[in-house]
């Protein structure tokens, strides 16, 4: 029998706010244990929660960026259970009425093996605000467990999908897309090692072609794309084998052991808590007005899809180039910054509003320059970054430097090869593009007067080749170009050498 895996994700996105969801304590990662645990974090008797307006803003930003319904009225509820890292004995979350309703995210699933790449729409069920728990630290003190409440109350947005994914690849593509989006709109730092972006993955299998969903098992707390891939693949195999052996799947919460690459049940449905949700009487319902939504919408950055379409339309970039340049906020920022220097010389701000008019003024030539920028970022720069395991936001070569360098390429001051030498120098810490060109003597001989003299000398020194060319031997022309380049010590612009030589020979 052929099986189909059905996957849904619940992603805990830590929101980029300075303070906690319901208190003024700092959310900075990595502080000494319990130094960011205020009276509310510790849940002292008598303390009360106050909702962080910045977290609400993040949630609404997210909702608007996936074209979701924003609830005009949402409610905070208490999820009751006992655990030492949950100081109040309940987590404040949203249950029946979440702040963000149904939305959509389009994912790009890359080519795998013989399968071609494709796009797919993943439906978002809801996204709700809640607070994080603290951390149990085992083993720091011999024979005891410690509790670190620094993370307690950190704002989270839990983003829940429909069971729309049909492979580990799709699930990873979704997770990557979401990861990119939340960073793009500035609501999450995306740091997966620090737990800023963690996924719970619901996996079930069913005979291909059937509609009824199988019983799902939920893999908790995966904090890398690799683990998501491995855990789903292992779990899918496990479920299929079990069913094929005549067994049944019990609904369960499971953990993925990344050391051995296996999933293991943590608790079954029967052992599941009754969380006794009820509306938190300490917090009033959250009401979001149309005016507030409009204000947040106006503050949203241009989203990746829109930016990509604009790059294709206005810059005449290919789908591939535009996809690459909008694949992350950092790359897009770097590209936009570089283009800004190319187009405006670094003056003013390039916005989606003034780009079209700047382009209309500049015309075709500009698109060529932008194409050069795209090629360089995608090619040479990315290769160098990859080789040193760096991300573009910390590139040793700044967008201003790259723009200056590429201007020199575009105006024929230096050749493409020479430009690579300049980039290497910039990479090693030299700052001034023109100084590097001067010191290394990389300037192309583009002055047709000086070039004319060189070519005249070459023609005079090689009468045989001139004769052969005139007799119809095309090869002789190339040989003359080579002689001219050699005579210019490689500084001549090959295109110009061609032009001037042709002119002189046919004169």
């Amino acid at each position: 029998m052929e099986w189909e895996v059905v996957i849904g994700l619940e992603t805990h996105t830590q929101l980029k706010t300075n303070t906690k969801q319901f208190s003024g304590a700092s959310t900075i990662y990595g502080a000494e244990p319990n130094t960011q645990a205020c009276e509310v974090s510790i849940a002292l008797p008598g303390v009360l929660p106050v909702l962080n307006a910045e977290a609400v803003k993040c949630a609404v930003k997210f909702g608007l960026s996936i074209d979701a319904e924003i609830a005009p009225r949402s409610v905070f509820s208490r999820k009751n259970y006992f655990y030492p890292d949950l100081p109040k004995g309940y987590q404040i979350s949203q249950f029946e009425l979440p702040v963000v309703g149904k939305g959509k995210i389009t994912i790009q699933v890359p080519a795998v093996g013989k399968n071609l790449p494709y796009e797919k729409v993943i439906n978002i069920t809801r996204a709700h605000l809640e607070e994080d728990a603290g951390k149990s630290v085992h083993g720091a003190v011999e024979g005891m467990s410690g509790i670190d409440l620094n993370r307690t109350g950190t704002p989270l947005l839990e983003i829940v999908t429909e069971p729309d994914m049909r492979s580990a690849d799709e699930a990873v593509a979704y997770a990557k897309k979401l990861h990119e989006l939340v960073q793009w709109i500035g609501i999450c730092d995306g740091n997966m090692q620090e737990g800023s972006f963690r996924c719970d993955v619901n996996v079930s299998v069913r005979p291909k072609g059937t509609d009824k969903l199988g019983t799902r098992r939920e893999i908790k707390n995966l904090n890398s794309f690799k683990f998501i891939q491995q855990a789903i693949e292992f779990e899918t195999r496990w479920q299929i084998e079990r069913l094929e052996d005549g067994g049944k799947i019990q609904q369960a919460t499971i953990l993925f052991n990344s050391d051995i690459g296996e999933t293991k049940a943590m608790r079954s449905k029967e052992e599941a808590n009754d969380y006794r949700y009820f509306p938190d009487p300490d917090l009033l319902p959250l009401e979001i007005t149309e005016a507030y939504k409009a204000k947040i919408r106006a503050s949203l950055p241009e989203l990746p899809e829109a930016m990509k379409a604009r790059f294709e339309r206005d810059f005449a970039l290919s789908n591939d180039d535009a996809s690459f340049l909008t694949s992350s906020k950092q790359i897009a920022d770097y590209f936009n910054e570089t283009v800004k220097y190319i187009l405006l010389g670094g003056i003013g701000t390039l916005t989606s509003e003034n780009i079209p008019s700047a382009l209309a003024h500049a015309g075709q030539q500009v698109n060529e320059k932008i194409k050069i920028v795209a090629n360089w970022i995608k090619g040479t720069l990315s290769a160098k970054l990859n080789s040193e395991d760096l991300t573009i936001d910390i590139s040793p070569v700044t967008p201003t430097q790259l723009a200056t360098l590429l201007k020199r390429v575009a105006d024929n001051t230096i050749s493409n090869n020479a430009a690579k030498q300049v980039l290497d120098a910039l990479w090693l810490g030299e700052a001034d593009v023109d100084a590097i060109i001067a010191t290394k003597g990389l300037k192309q001989e583009s002055d047709s007067g000086a070039l004319g003299v060189i070519i005249d000398e070459v023609l005079a020194a090689n009468p045989t080749m001139v004769e052969e060319f005139k007799a119809g031997k095309e090869k002789a022309f190339n040989a003359l170009v080579g002689q001219a380049m050699k005579a210019s010590k490689g500084k001549a612009n090959p295109t110009q050498v061609n032009e001037v030589l042709k002119k002189k020979l046919t004169a």
Binding site: P45, G46, L48, V50, N80, P84, K88, D274
Partner: protein
């Protein structure tokens, strides 16, 4: 002096006829003498108290005093006060020293008032007799064999016995007004959201409200000026302009200062269950109001009978969750020996909580459980709305509602301990205002002779519309201008079975 009003005390202090240190000493001496038998205070710290009194005297000397500067108050032990043991009447918090101040405490500190000590209360404010306190019951100063009411029993006894100038209390279902009735003083539960709950240990968050417990309406008004006001740390605190609660308290030259006032008498408040003698006193008080010019209209609050069942679903539901934080992990009682985490939780909570608290945690957990939520919690919320609507309808016909504050006078200690439902019925006239979020007061209206030959006070309840505290206070004030029930004091030195053992 111990029977002086807050206004008089303030004037004496500011005229430097007495210092705050002297006034404080007067009350502390009375506390030393009478508290061992009454048990109103469960935490005293003379050094902290005198530090505040000395600071108040400096403010007065520098002409920086406000009306309550230098006046000694008792604080219910439900309010966290920095450096003070704050127990909420529970073994669970018997070792807890609050590291921060509740909003109410800060407000009193900010005007230079003096904290005399923390008062006894029913454990986590759950009770109507102060008998659920881990620190023992409190004697009713009018009859030491009887309870002071609850849950603010310690504050109630302290005010009645003049062991403080006035006190704070909290009222979730009647915990200010029922003890005010049983101990014969004036107590106000403000509109929900008027006094910040920050630092006030939660029992049932949607019902809890702090308020003043004092001799007179005028005293309550002066305290409200300090206690009320928006606090951004409490999301249910209401953002309103600061108001002067004394603004209507005028001694009119007219013989009918309350002319035009419509008093609603809900028939459900005078039905079965009300002691006939208590009813008589309430009726006499209402007759007095008629003399003051008020008009009486009959009204109905048809859902009154549902208020106790609704309350005993909602309050325990919230409490079961609010009390989850007492798990022995970070502070409070932790059992001595345990085998694992679950054992530690179970033993710590089993040992730390008393029977009534456990009963309510169990009820609350039950009504929130999967499968029961709709039938209990949700249903109760719906009825709660109906109860509030009853009042909305009633206030179309009248300005204030009057009736008894408690169904009887103070009962004997131990009398209702074994019968929780009888105990719950003590709050039958007060609970519906908490459910509706309305302000309510109890005002001394007379005395009844007990079987033991003691005089036992009876309170008149005044319920107002939302934010109508200032008018209610004047309604009470006009009555207090023509009656003297509120300034009568119990004779603590009168021979008494308990007192003979405890104090002579």
């Amino acid at each position: 002096m111990i029977n002086s009003s807050l206004k008089q005390l303030g004037e004496m202090l500011q005229a430097k006829k007495i210092s705050s240190v002297e006034l404080t000493q007067t009350f502390l001496s009375r506390i030393t003498e009478y508290n061992p038998s009454i048990n109103a205070y469960i935490a005293l710290d003379a050094s902290k108290t005198f530090t505040q009194a000395k600071a108040a005297d400096v403010l007065i000397a520098n002409n920086q005093a406000s009306p309550l500067t230098g006046i000694p108050f008792a604080q219910k032990d439900i309010f966290c006060a920095k450096g003070w043991k704050t127990t909420c009447g529970s073994k669970m918090l018997a070792n807890f020293i609050a590291p921060y101040d509740a909003h109410v405490i800060t407000q009193f500190d900010n005007v230079g008032a003096v904290n005399l000590g923390k008062t006894n209360m029913d454990e986590f404010a759950m009770g109507s007799s102060n008998e659920t306190s881990y620190f023992g019951g409190v004697k009713n100063p009018w009859d030491f064999d009887r309870v002071p009411g609850g849950s603010s029993g310690g504050s109630a006894a302290a005010v009645a016995a003049r062991l403080c100038a006035a006190a704070t209390g909290t009222d979730t279902g009647g915990s200010i007004r029922q003890p005010a009735s049983l101990c014969g003083f004036t107590g106000l539960k403000p509109t929900y959201g008027v006094v910040s709950r920050y630092g006030m240990i939660a029992f049932a968050s949607s019902l809890d409200q702090a308020g003043p417990m004092a001799k007179s309406a005028e005293d309550c008004a002066l305290m409200m000026n300090v206690m009320a006001g928006f606090d951004e740390r409490d999301s249910t605190s209401l953002m309103r302009d600061k108001e002067d609660y004394t603004r209507y308290l005028i001694k009119s030259s007219e013989s009918t200062p309350l002319a035009g006032l419509k008093i609603g008498l809900p028939k459900e408040f005078f039905a079965e269950g009300l002691d006939a003698n208590v009813a008589k006193i309430v009726e006499t008080a209402i007759a007095e109001y008629k003399k003051l010019g008020a008009e009486v209209v009959d009204i109905s609050l048809p859902n009154t009978g549902l208020s106790i069942p609704v309350y005993y679903v909602l309050a325990p539901a919230e409490a079961s969750s609010n009390l989850s934080r007492y798990d022995g992990v970070r502070y409070g009682h932790r059992t001595e020996s345990y085998t694992d985490l679950m054992d530690m939780y179970c033993k710590s909570r089993a040992e730390g909580f008393g029977a009534e608290v456990k009963r309510r945690i169990l009820i609350g957990t039950y009504v929130l459980s999967a499968g029961y939520y709709d039938a209990y919690y949700l249903k109760a919320q719906q009825i709660r709305r109906l109860i509030a609507q009853d009042f909305t309808e009633a206030f179309k016909k009248c300005d204030v509602i009057m009736g008894p504050a408690a169904p009887s006078t103070a009962f004997k200690a131990g009398e209702k301990v074994e019968d929780p439902v009888a105990m719950y019925l003590q709050d039958i006239y007060t609970i519906s205002t908490n459910l509706a979020g309305l302000p309510g007061m109890s005002v001394p209206a007379g005395f009844l002779d007990s079987t033991g030959g003691k005089k036992l006070p009876v309170g008149l309840q005044i319920i107002g519309n939302y934010f109508d505290e200032a008018r209610m206070l004047n309604v009470a004030h006009q009555y207090q201008l023509v009656t003297d029930w509120h300034i009568r004091m119990p004779n603590l030195d009168m021979p008494n079975s308990v007192k003979q053992e405890g104090l002579n």
